[in-house]
Symmetry: C2
Subunit: 512 residues, 2 copies
């Protein structure tokens, strides 16, 4: 029974179960709800963790504020943020053509100005006119909740060509970046706290965070660090058997390819095994393919979408439902702040798609600029267009540089004492294993924090490099890692390597 007003505060302080007390009493008139405090928030919210923007980043922001007040306080003159795949924060330039088109769409009066042709190439002007004709109400109007139809058609064309398998615009859902799409699917396919989704360990914490928030079970499967973060079906089997023993109904399997934070790329034969595994257990496959352009050894390990592999396996596998995710935030675009993404459904019936449309409609629509960038990404300037050469130069410049930086960072990490690192084949991250001296582990414990959190806090404190502890992504018990991007520009990546090296040597010395 809920206590009356006067005794309420006392009672809730004493009774840890007050959340579950019935609000009804026949003897009193006024029943107060428990006051708003962190203890009375949703337990799902409290359980959610997202390390990519967690403790270490908050410490980095504090240090930045301290440096503003006293520039001599630290031995570095700026924090380098390697915690997140955010290329433009680290001064990567956006693709010019895309931004020209966006500028013209934001301010269409420019098109009436006779000066416009002196400033913008012809194809950028033409392209913006196509958008303004096809996007009802322009950038400022809510669009179709599933995304602007002609943009969805364009995405479908891109996918049809990429996979050699026809795709339909009705199977495309545009989103504000890939993350809201992932969350919408997880929310829809898990029915209660007994339903589970298999995710890789290490994983991108969007998955663990979203499952915690929704209140569904996280079912871990482990990537094999010794085999270049390989994914074996034996491990998937082990994982699902364990989940079944724990009474979990496993509904879906998440694959991140290329891997985040692990940077590995799957072979097509491995993908086929995974699809067979999904069929065997009736699993919904969720393919996070946002790094599909970030593949650095295309000859040995070209990217194949799960959609292509699945459809090529023939009608026997048409019962395997697949959701594939893509984004403007990664690749060579790096348009993170513009929030554009999509997901593509394969083998999903129209009644399910109608429910996904309905869920999308509650948030009205993804932002229109992000939608337009999606269209530009899948349909860039073509040979012969005024902007083609410039586009190719910018694109290839970024790609080649990312490849060089991934190698440079991976190799430098491998030279450090007690550190091993699979040189990334794709994505934007290295995920080295660090062997911490017992004294460092003790020091962390005495502070009540995880040893790799301790290492990363020391790193931002002493080297001004912001990296993320492996515990935020998951790792085998007893091992420690961190994730770092290789996104600092080439003129800066040497400094990152140097800072990390000096810090690590000093750290190992201090805790020997």
């Amino acid at each position: 029974m809920l206590t009356p007003l006067k005794d309420f505060k006392k009672s809730i302080q004493k009774n840890p179960l007050y959340k579950f007390i019935s609000p009804v009493s026949m003897f009193h008139d006024i029943f107060k709800a428990p006051p708003l405090s962190v203890e009375t928030l949703s337990s799902k919210v409290l359980k959610t963790e997202y390390a990519v923007r967690g403790t270490v980043v908050l410490r980095a922001l504090e240090i930045e504020a301290e440096m503003k007040r006293d520039p001599s306080k630290y031995k570095f003159d700026e924090i380098i943020y390697c915690n997140i795949g955010n290329p433009q924060q680290l001064k990567q330039k956006p693709i010019s053509f895309f931004r020209m088109v966006l500028a013209l769409c934001e301010y269409p009066d420019l098109l009436q100005n006779p000066e416009v042709e002196k400033i913008f190439p012809k194809d950028a002007i033409e392209r913006s006119k196509i958008f303004l004709k096809n996007v009802v109400g322009g950038m400022g109007a809510y669009s179709h909740s599933q995304g602007i139809p002609f943009i969805r058609e364009s995405v479908a064309n891109f996918i049809s060509k990429r996979d050699g398998q026809k795709c339909d615009g009705d199977d495309i859902f545009l989103t504000d970046g890939a993350s809201p799409g992932v969350q919408a699917i997880l929310r829809s396919i898990t029915r209660n706290e007994n339903d589970g989704i298999m995710i890789p360990i290490p994983q991108y914490p969007l998955y663990s965070a979203s499952l915690a928030m929704i209140g569904a079970k996280q079912v871990n499967y482990y990537l094999n660090e010794k085999e270049g973060w390989g994914l074996s079906v034996d491990e998937l089997e082990k994982s699902i058997q364990k989940a079944h023993k724990d009474n979990v109904v496993v509904r879906g399997l998440v694959i991140i390819n290329p891997g985040n934070p692990t940077g590995q790329c799957l072979t097509a034969s491995n993908q086929r095994e995974i699809i067979k595994f999904c069929q065997k257990y009736g699993l919904i496959l969720m393919a996070d393919e946002v790094y599909q352009e970030n593949v650095y050894y295309k000859d040995q390990k070209p990217f194949s979408s799960f959609r292509k592999v699945l459809l090529e396996m023939g009608p026997e596998y048409s019962s395997v439902p697949l959701f594939s995710f893509h984004s403007i935030s990664k690749g060579f675009l790096g348009e993170c702040g513009q929030r554009g993404g999509y997901y593509n459904t394969t083998n999903i019936d129209s009644a399910v798609k109608h429910q996904l449309y309905k869920m999308a409609s509650v948030s009205l629509c993804p932002n229109v600029a992000g939608q337009i960038l999606i269209e530009l990404m899948v349909n860039p300037p073509k040979m012969g267009d005024n902007s083609y050469n410039n586009y190719i130069n910018e694109r290839d410049g970024i790609y080649e540089s990312l490849k060089r930086r991934s190698k440079k960072l991976g190799e430098a990490l491998n030279k450090l004492e007690g550190v091993t690192c699979n040189v990334p084949e794709g994505a934007m991250y290295a995920f080295p294993r660090i062997r911490l001296p017992p004294k460092a582990v003790e020091a962390a414990k005495s502070k009540g924090i995880h040893p790799d959190v301790f290492y990363c806090l020391e790193c931002v404190q002493h080297a001004g490099v912001c990296i993320v502890p492996g515990s935020g992504f998951g790792q085998e018990d007893g091992t420690f890692h961190f994730r770092t991007t290789f996104l600092p520009l080439e003129e800066q990546i040497d400094s990152v390597v140097q800072r990390l090296t000096e810090f690590h040597q000093d750290f190992m010395k201090r805790f020997k």
Copy 2:
């Protein structure tokens, strides 16, 4: 027990309870999850309804497609969308200054071009430079998850001035439109299916949809149609007492002011009563104030924010937690497609705010263009700036026109047989009551649809005007309504009035 593979398909077709069957069997090796179908989606998702983009809109889109194939099929030549507050879809022009600044921010190379000063006014150029200096990485970088710090400071300044009460940038959370903010708060403050939130009836269906999706209780309180959709504390008392009898822990109260779909504006004395009510029951107040600029009788009923009223009531009320919501989609901006919004916390402690930050960080950040538009909204050109006069002309032109249109539509609706309508004092909608003839009610029932859905489907079919059934917003049992915006431009609003009038007369005749 889950059945083995071979019997699985049969069993699930027979057993409606298969969702709840445990997946474990000691006798079999392979347990398939139930296949993906609309029946095996989350029941929370299935229960969610969002009429603003529901059946009637889908029918309108179908009619549009039919008209493309056969332009003579309908007696109108276009559908007029009055289902949603989406001004630019109906050709309202965006504020020029805002779009100039956005164009320059999207393509900063323009600022290096000597032609730029011929095209853009000086203050637009200056303003874009301020953004590019303060927004790390520009439009393409993920920002701080809570929103760009200098923009939050600017919002806090605006609120401080508006309310005469100091506000802090740490209390501002920028969002992709107001909707994701509302959902984040509802998700955080409801702990289980026994926690409830009071919402007005009629309401904007974001609230009912979000509560269904989260799995919390919707506690209805009714607005009084006869008194201009007035909100009485007696009704709030009745509602909470009933909820307590039903064992619901009422945690929060939603107020939409100005009202949506009802268009009424609250007086400050009414707001004080509401705050006292919240204090009495320990409720968290959620003030949806996205229509704060859409107030058409400012002399009689000026807008006061709940924050201002609450803080002026003194420290005695500092235990009442308040979340206030605002947006770039409404007012005279109508920048719906750009997805910008914020919420402002009052009397919320920092541990709770940290949890809200963490939740925001899982989705990384709101889109940067939307954040910039928020800053422009709260800090528009000032007297003496090059763009000031133009800004004022555009702003006042839209405002005065909306006021004229609200009156025109409200009065026209009142002239229809069996229709009564409170002329809107604010927002963008009229919500007339329609008395449907028994034969129309029967016709609807024979089709298995709600009578007001039937009326709205007939309206889009015969008049080409897309409006939303009252049942999508909630209404007193036995009454029927619809919501229509008054957003069509003045040259079109006469046509809307004429189409609605002719349709209604014909409908009443047909079902007499």
